[in-house]
Amino acid sequence: MSAYSCAQVRDLAPELALGILGGAERAEAILHVNGCARCQAVVGEFAEAADALPLLAREVEPPPGFEDRVLATLRAAGRRNVRRWIAAVAVAAAAAAIVSITIVRVVEAGNETTPQAMQPAPVEARMVGAGGRSAGWAYVTNGRSLAVAVDYGVPSGTYSIAVQPRGSSAVTIGRMAVVEGRGSWTGRSGPELGPGATIALIDAAGGETCRGTVRARS
């Protein structure tokens, strides 16, 4: 429990929102805010303005070749990630076969928060809602890593993500929140999602809100 009162935290709210409070003060203030909805709201209001300040900086063209250098760095970082995963799996598998299932789970869990190595995504799907309107996109990498994003025409709510490989039955692989028409989800699909597979968002009533059919990248 925080030693700070609501009055103390609200006094510090602008500095907390700006991220300029020192360690001890910051820790106490955050501890209080985590358990106090009203102070959370106060800090949130200041944070909205604080987060907008960097938008005011002047745009500047970066030096020539900047984009290529960034992409090369991302590719290199991706390769390092793959090597780390392979090494982790190899060491663990050598230690004991019995833990191999766990290792696979660890690697799969890692895929949910760590991007894949930079490589061409083999397939994608345009998510289409009622009336054929575009609702967003889905990308499939390595057959099972899936990213879904919707940005238009999907009502706020929580949706199940159902995937259905061609010739198989549909499987729910996760849930995605949509707020003010926008939402995104990344994770792993059990079934492999090749061309012809479908990805759909299913609302709480079981209705299909939008659907995409996986196809090879053009």
């Binding site: 300040l53 760095t73 949910e112 990308y139 990344t186």
Partner: protein
């Protein structure tokens, strides 16, 4: 296909899609580099910061939550934090006032499309910043953009610095609320 939304680009980035990564960098590089350049005031250091910002964004793309703010806000917050860390050890004792003043004016090299977009995103905030008394303007820019603590804002008592930061941020918040209501 890269007329897709910012959110969709982040999803593609999280999936390791090279096209999405390229489009993401192309879309935001001027803003990221501009913010880094504003804070670190050196092209070479700004490029290092901007590059690292994109790497961080790529690493954490899967954790991006659109409910907590826009993609550009998220990316610029990453950039700001990296830039502040980069200059913390060699922070100047005072900043050129022209740098601060320049923040309330649009750059001269923007296209009409950029200016229109700028009008949608930041016009009210920019105007509100320009209307602040100079001492509040300085305090909020030093704290909000350059990461100065209230104690580090030189030449004024701590309480005065805190009051200026609070008042300025409150006014900027009010401008954002006005903008939301107008929309």
């Amino acid at each position: 296909m890269w007329s897709v939304s910012d959110d969709a680009l982040v999803a593609g980035l999280a999936a390791g899609d090279t096209d999405a990564a390229s489009a993401f960098v192309r879309r935001f590089q001027r803003r990221v580099f501009g913010l880094a350049r504003t804070i670190v005031t050196d092209d070479r250091a700004a490029e290092d910061v901007a590059q690292e910002a994109f790497v961080r964004a790529w690493r954490h793309a899967a954790a991006y939550d659109p409910r907590r703010g826009s993609v550009v806000g998220w990316l610029l917050t990453i950039t700001r934090n990296l830039a502040i860390d980069a200059v913390r050890v060699r922070r100047p004792t005072s900043l050129d006032p022209s740098v601060l003043v320049g923040l309330d004016r649009a750059g001269t090299d923007r296209s009409p499309e950029d200016l229109a977009q700028l009008g949608d995103d930041t016009a009210q905030l920019r105007a509100a910043l320009g209307r602040l008394p100079p001492e509040q303007h300085r305090a909020i820019v030093l704290a909000g953009l350059f990461g100065y603590t209230a104690r580090e804002i030189e030449g004024i008592p701590l309480g005065t610095a805190k009051t200026r930061i609070r008042t300025a941020l409150g006014r900027l918040r009010a401008a954002l609320v006005d903008q939301e209501e107008a929309e």
